[in-house]
């Protein structure tokens, strides 16, 4: 096999390259050539294509998300948008980090594993910040409850969320389960994780200090999920199902549990300078982001990456999305101790490179240079689009279709029929058949969980300091008016947290929309972001991070715009939490508000 090196690329500028198959547009490919002053090597092309995918680069959403960064500074915010997850001060020296992320398309293709690896991914994001993950939540949407596809997808998704989270020992403290025709063929699986640490334990994803070592640890790298991010999450499924079938990964929660315990021990022994998890875009993402956020460059010897499949090409190794892997920057004097901790927890670890003085990210394959790029251009300076937007043509008609036109029940029998229709709706029905599949007790700190409006978790057993979390979306409101609907969504999550007695502190969000190439979807997206930003300004809350999932549609029919919003609150003493429901006969019932 001949290797496409930097020298070969310089000497053969006109070789045809499969940029279109990798999802790049002609002008994007031209820009890569311009940045490098030559054609990219095969490995470089792989890196750029996955990192410049919609999922990794946020190229359609970036211009709108900036509004979150412009919100007034919050004293509670220790780390804001841009890191793996935002970090919030909750008092007594504790910091909390939380984030919600989507795994919609993989969950449609392989429900159990798609949902399971979604939980695994968000947990690693939280772990990367230096925190011990302490709870998860999940927000799920499927087609009609009686649709055949729902019967195929839902049980696997629920079992996958439970299977992974239960095996990690993370209590599931809440979430959502809703049904609507628009999710047939494109279910939504959003998972949230929250973690806690002391202020001084916050870790960031940057590579600093020339000579420091780059250590890859966790599972070995295999051929599963290659290009999954660019293909699966950035493309529409046609009516027959997935357009392409890239391998979905099988999650290994046991390895992830060991990774959690090993990381926390590494943090405690102060053996880590910078750290990044490997999620979408795998090593391409971890190396370029660490280098881009750091002060210098980075060099990697790719043949040192532990492989599960020895036939992988260098480009495949760079793109593989094998789960349960992390990448750390470690001072040379601490490498031995680092490896010893990994051995204790049976976690595989290998030094794969080092931080350099320069400002380039270079990758060698058995001594031959196959990547030589400015890391910022891969990780943080990808394309940015101002996509055209247009108010949906049907919106006026939808808004004019007022419920006032519905006939009111005139007789007790009609009223009874209406009432039965409401209480028997799958959206409103009891969800314990799902939540019973989740462990809510593990770790022994769950104060409130399902079916409460918000989950409450104790974080200090002496002082009873704790947090409350709610995760909510209302896509029907957002469809009718994405700006107001999103504000109402935020208000709902805020109320759910406040109603337990907590003080709301911060917001995360997962924005699930259709194709950004559709101007009407883009308009919905922009309005939703504007609504969330304005709502947060009014409530005085920062947005600490989130995730954008686009291309959620079947054929050319987009899902209803579905912002899912998480609000975090703090309880100075969780013993004063207020559960929902009327507990004792004879208590007075008061209605607050208009």
């Amino acid at each position: 096999m001949s290797i496409d090196t930097v020298d070969v690329a310089a000497q053969n500028p006109d070789d045809e390259q499969p940029w279109a198959e990798l999802g790049l547009k002609a002008d994007e490919y031209a820009r890569i050539r311009e940045i490098l002053g030559r054609r990219p090597t095969t490995a470089e092309l792989a890196m750029y294509s996955v990192m410049w995918s919609e999922h990794c680069s946020y190229k359609s959403s970036k211009v709108h998300l900036r509004q979150f960064g412009d919100l007034p500074k919050s004293d509670a915010l220790l780390v804001g948008i841009g890191e793996n997850a935002g970090v919030v001060d909750v008092g007594e020296g504790y910091a909390v980090t939380f984030k919600v992320e989507s795994h919609n398309h993989p969950s449609y293709v392989e429900p159990y594993q798609g949902a399971a690896t979604g939980v695994g991914g968000i947990v690693r994001d939280i772990l990367t910040m230096g925190a011990r993950p302490i709870a998860v939540m999940d927000s799920l949407r499927f087609g009609r409850a009686d649709a055949p596809d729902t019967a195929r997808v839902l049980p696997g998704v629920v079992a996958g969320v439970g299977g992974y989270g239960n095996c990690l020992g993370l209590p599931n403290i809440g979430g959502e389960l809703l049904f609507d025709e628009c999710y047939t063929g494109n279910p939504l699986v959003n998972a949230l994780c929250v973690g806690v640490m002391k202020h001084e334990d916050v870790h960031l994803a940057k590579a600093e200090g020339a000579g420091n070592k780059v250590v890859l640890f966790g599972a070995r790298t295999g051929g599963d999920g290659i290009g999954g991010v660019s293909v699966l999450a950035s493309e529409t499924f046609d009516a027959e199902g997935p357009a392409k079938r890239p391998a979905v990964q099988v999650g290994d929660p046991f390895t992830e549990k060991l990774l959690i315990e090993a990381c926390l021990e590494l943090f405690a022994q102060d053996l880590v300078t910078g750290i990044q998890d490997l999620g979408g875009a795998g090593l391409s993402c971890a190396t370029s982001e660490l280098a881009s956020a750091g002060t210098g460059g980075m060099h990697v010897d790719l043949e040192t990456v532990p492989l599960r499949d020895s036939t992988l090409t260098p480009a495949e190794i760079l793109m593989s999305e094998s789960q349960e892997r992390m990448c750390a920057i470690v001072e040379p004097g601490k490498v031995e101790q680092f490896l010893a901790v990994c051995r204790k927890w049976d976690v595989r670890a290998a030094v794969i490179g080092e931080v350099t003085d320069g400002d380039r990210l270079t990758v060698d394959w058995h001594g031959e240079r196959i990547v030589d790029v400015p890391p910022r251009t891969v990780a943080h300076e990808g394309p940015v689009y101002e996509r055209p937007m247009q108010r949906p043509a049907d919106l006026d008609a939808l808004q004019a279709d007022d419920p006032a036109r519905l006939t009111r029940p005139a007789t007790p029998a009609e009223l009874q029929a209406h009432w039965l229709a409401v209480v028997s709706s799958p959206d409103g029905a009891d969800k314990s058949w799902v939540t019973e599949q989740y462990d809510r007790y593990v770790r022994g700190n769950t104060v409130l969980a399902q079916p409460e409006d918000a989950g409450v978790v104790r974080i200090d057993e002496q002082s009873f300091l704790g947090i409350a979390l709610s995760l909510d979306g209302n896509a029907r409101f957002a469809r009718l008016d994405p700006y107001t609907g999103t504000r109402l969504n935020l208000a709902e999550a805020y109320r759910n947290v406040a109603a337990t007695g907590a003080t709301p502190l911060a917001v995360t969000n997962c924005l699930n929309f259709g194709s950004p190439e559709n101007p009407e979807v883009m308009w919905q997206f922009a309005e939703a972001v504007r609504g969330l930003a304005d709502g947060c300004r009014e409530l005085g809350l920062p947005v600490t991070g989130g995730n954008v999932s686009l291309y959620n549609q079947t054929g050319d029919v987009a899902i209803n715009p579905t912002p899912v919003i998480g609000v975090l609150g703090v309880h100075e003493d969780v013993r004063t939490r207020i559960p929902s429901g009327w507990r004792n006969a004879g208590e007075t019932v008061l209605l607050l508000g208009e």
């Binding site: 079992a159 439970g162 239960n166 046991f254 060991l258 049976d346 593990v442 770790r443 057993e461």
Partner: protein
């Protein structure tokens, strides 16, 4: 009084078990699966979780860990041992308790608050309960269906070795509603439900689980 809590790779409720020991007035001692060292503890708890991911059979791989050889030997010598959930599975796989735990009959993981009847209040771990007392503690498992050949079940019942039965619904399809069993000498007890999750009003459905840990403290003193 030193009560060891073993951590296997994949153990999850070890922190909870240690908390329960502490709340009962004992001193929890962390034990590591890979050491041959019981650290002179007076009793041992095998906590819940998914040791080795439970990928082969629940508890199968952990049952073959170095420390388990010491636990088996010490248990034969009378050391009180409690296996909770995954810990129960490990004890069955290690041959310290009879029977096996298999996939729940409904095939789902199930987490709920469960009533149990204490069938024997004379084991090392149940002395603080009364015979026939009903207690409410959480159950949460995917492979908690207790099975054994009918003849073996008859023998177990004949020897009065069923310590707990599910009341008001069997959460996993266990034979004869069996939730927990004991060794011949009443020192080793295993059950699927989680007493360590019912030790504080704030976080559990009751505090009925505390009795396991107070019982063993007395059993050790009286031994």
């Amino acid at each position: 009084m030193r009560i060891g809590v073993i951590t296997f790779p994949g153990s999850l409720d070890d922190v909870d078990a240690a908390r329960a020991v502490r709340l009962a007035g004992g001193e929890p001692v962390a034990l590591w699966h890979g050491d041959h060292d019981l650290k002179d503890v007076d009793a041992v708890v095998l906590p819940g979780g998914f040791s080795y991911g439970d990928y082969l059979r629940a508890g199968a791989i952990a049952a073959r860990s170095p420390l388990m050889q010491d636990v088996v030997a010490a248990a034969h010598g009378g050391l009180p041992v409690l296996g909770i959930c995954n810990g129960f599975q490990v004890l069955c796989e290690a041959g310290l308790l009879p029977g096996a735990l298999t996939r729940n009959s409904h095939l789902h993981f199930r987490n709920r608050d469960q009533l149990l009847r204490v069938e024997r209040a004379d084991t090392a771990w149940t002395g603080d309960y009364a015979d026939g007392q009903e207690i409410l503690i959480p159950v949460k498992n995917g492979e908690g269906r207790y099975v054994a050949a009918d003849a073996d079940l008859d023998r177990l019942e004949g020897e009065n070795r069923v310590v707990f039965r599910y009341v008001g619904g069997n959460p996993n399809g266990s034979s004869r509603d069996i939730a927990g069993v004991t060794s011949e000498n009443g020192r080793v007890v295993g059950l699927m439900p989680h007493p360590e999750h019912a030790v504080e009003d704030l976080t559990g459905p009751s505090t009925d689980g505390l009795g396991f840990f107070t019982s063993v403290l007395k059993a050790v003193v009286n031994a």
